[in-house]
């Protein structure tokens, strides 16, 4: 790693050896079981995983809301609490309603007043498309509007680090689309963004990098394209009657093959090599389709298998 890159990471977010266990009614719940993550300043990272993967607990530790049992967190070289006190972090937590009896404008202005270098309230209203709702009381808002106000509260602090924990849960399709446009616009200002989601397409479309969590551990971490390449095999489908699947499976770049009537399906480790070999050896192959592995498949492959904790008990 070059000196420049390491300095950038030092200036970003660093979580080392984080462990958090809760007491549950049936024994300890190992929410986070030793994770290491570094996020460079300016990076947009997705924390991806199913419910119960430990995403929210990780975010709570990042924000100083939960104290790790062991491990350290540093946000721009500071302890989380200090980063919060310095107004460097804006966050939209997973659960949360708004307090009532204030207008949208007032609640945003109230939160803006707490930060050293906030955005103007008008800018936050404009960014989040709340201009026409500014005079409404918070208790009269729809679920989608409430999420927008919560997003505006996170943005108005003008944070260096924006943390979003499953931000689009209560939104409709159009609301989601607009939300990510705003998020990317904000990230393009050079801010660091970490968002948790279990919508794979959101991570794929909006993050530079995906950190996959399952059962309290990180199971993959890299650019979304790299994660797909790592496990998402490409598939070749073709119409090719009367060829023994075993012969096809022996072609270079092919891991396995399957026959459904006249159609064959080749699962490939290297689809470029496989398609060349297929056409050379079986020129009659037609209706050829090559499909890439989706992040969804990658995700299932990486996190779908049951995990076993130290006691040998299967954990969920």
């Amino acid at each position: 790693m070059s000196a420049v890159a390491s300095a950038r990471i030092d200036n970003g977010i660093r979580m080392e050896g984080l462990v958090k266990t809760f007491r549950g009614p049936h024994g300890p719940i190992h929410a986070v079981r030793g994770i290491d993550v570094s996020i460079a300043a300016g990076e947009t990272a997705a924390l991806l995983g199913p419910n119960g993967a430990g995403k929210s607990t990780t975010i709570d530790m990042l924000l100083g809301l939960a104290k790790p049992d062991s491990g350290t967190v540093s946000v721009f070289g500071r302890a989380p609490r200090d980063a919060v006190d310095d107004g460097l972090i804006g966050a939209m937590l997973q659960t949360g309603e708004l307090i009532r009896d204030l207008t949208v404008r007032e609640i945003i202005a109230m939160m803006a007043s707490l930060y050293p270098d906030p955005m103007s309230v008008d800018e936050a209203l404009k960014l989040t498309g709340l201009k026409d709702t500014a005079g409404q009381r918070t208790q009269k808002l729809s679920g989608g509007q409430t999420q927008r106000v919560r997003f505006a509260i996170a943005l108005v602090s003008n944070p260096d680090l924006l943390v979003l924990d499953e931000p689009t849960v209560a939104m409709d399709v159009e609301g989601r689309r607009e939300f990510w446009v705003i998020m990317r616009e904000f990230a393009a200002r050079g801010r660091t963004v970490l968002f948790a989601t279990h919508y794979l397409e959101e991570a794929d479309a909006n993050a530079d990098r995906a950190i996959l969590m399952a059962h309290g551990r990180i199971v993959a971490d890299g650019p979304t394209t790299e994660i797909k390449a790592r496990v998402g095999r490409r598939t070749i489908r073709a119409t090719l009657p009367e060829v023994d699947p075993a012969r096809l499976a022996a072609l270079p770049g092919v891991a396995s093959s399957d026959r459904h009537g006249d159609a064959v399906i080749l699962s490939c480790t290297d689809s470029d090599q496989a398609i060349r070999a297929l056409l050379e050896n079986h020129p009659l192959a037609r209706d050829i389709e090559i499909t890439g592995g989706s992040l969804e498949e990658a995700f299932l492959e990486l996190t779908g298998e049951p995990d076993v904790d130290e006691s040998g008990r299967e954990v969920r």
């Binding site: 949360g96 939160m111 707490l114």
Partner: protein, 244 residues
């Protein structure tokens, strides 16, 4: 940054919540009218030499303001349930600014309650020298400090399900042992009473009757409770970062 704007918005939204506002203030007031109106011309209540409207105005001044202060706890429990407290915790709002806002909204309610009660008393013929009005009011405001802290403490310890019974029960017991409803003149309760902040709140309201403020014991007791409950409220707030 120093939380002044935050306090202003907190006050604004407290006074905008009509249901909370009317119930908190209306309850002692309705109580007062029910008790005092039928006997408003009785000028020697139970041989005390005091008129009925004066007697109950004083009793409900202590009770009503105590309810106003502790009710802060119900509001805080609601905010915790909504996840709002966690939202504040990830902002730079200092703990002392948060407490100041909560204490001031409690005082806002308490003062409103007092003024309505005084106005009702005057309407029913209560008349006092100016220094008694002022002395009673000033001492009540000081005597409310432990209850401001108690409200915050309850709000950060109790969930919305149980905050009603906790506050209702707590207020009833404190009011009873403090001598709000009838004078406690002898026995174990007479020994116990002066250890409680509600006792001194009632004594503060009695400035209207006899012109006497607290002695050293009163000041010390109120100061001690304020210190203990404030420290406990601070501890409860600091520990209160989990999802509720």
């Amino acid at each position: 940054m120093n939380g002044v704007a935050y306090t202003r918005y907190e006050l604004r939204r407290t006074f905008r919540n009509r249901r909370f506002f009317l119930f908190s203030l209306g309850f002692p007031l309705v109580f007062y009218w029910l008790l005092a109106v039928p006997q408003r011309n009785n000028h020697n209540f139970a041989g005390s030499g005091l008129s009925v409207p004066l007697y109950y105005m004083v009793g409900l001044a202590a009770f009503g303001t105590m309810v106003s202060m502790i009710s802060t706890g119900a509001r805080i429990a609601g905010e915790r349930q909504a996840g709002w407290t966690r939202q504040l915790r990830i902002s730079p709002l200092p703990a002392r600014a948060y407490f100041r806002a909560k204490v001031l909204t409690g005082y806002g309610m308490a003062v409103s309650s007092l003024l309505l009660l005084y106005a009702s008393g005057v309407a029913l013929g209560v008349s006092l020298p100016a220094q008694r009005w002022l002395g009673m009011t000033a001492l009540i405001l000081v005597g409310l400090l432990p209850f401001a802290a108690l409200g915050i403490l309850i709000g950060h310890l109790v969930t919305t399900d149980s905050v009603g019974p906790v506050i209702g029960g707590g207020v009833s017991i404190l009011a009873f042992l403090g001598g709000t409803w009838f004078p406690i003149t002898s026995g174990f309760l007479r020994t116990l009473g002066p250890f409680l902040p509600s006792w001194w709140l009632v004594q503060a309201s009695h400035v209207a009757l006899d012109g006497h403020g607290w002695g050293a014991r009163g000041w010390l007791t109120v100061a001690a409770w304020t210190a203990i409950l404030s420290a406990s409220a601070g501890w409860a707030y600091r520990g209160d970062t989990n999802r509720v």
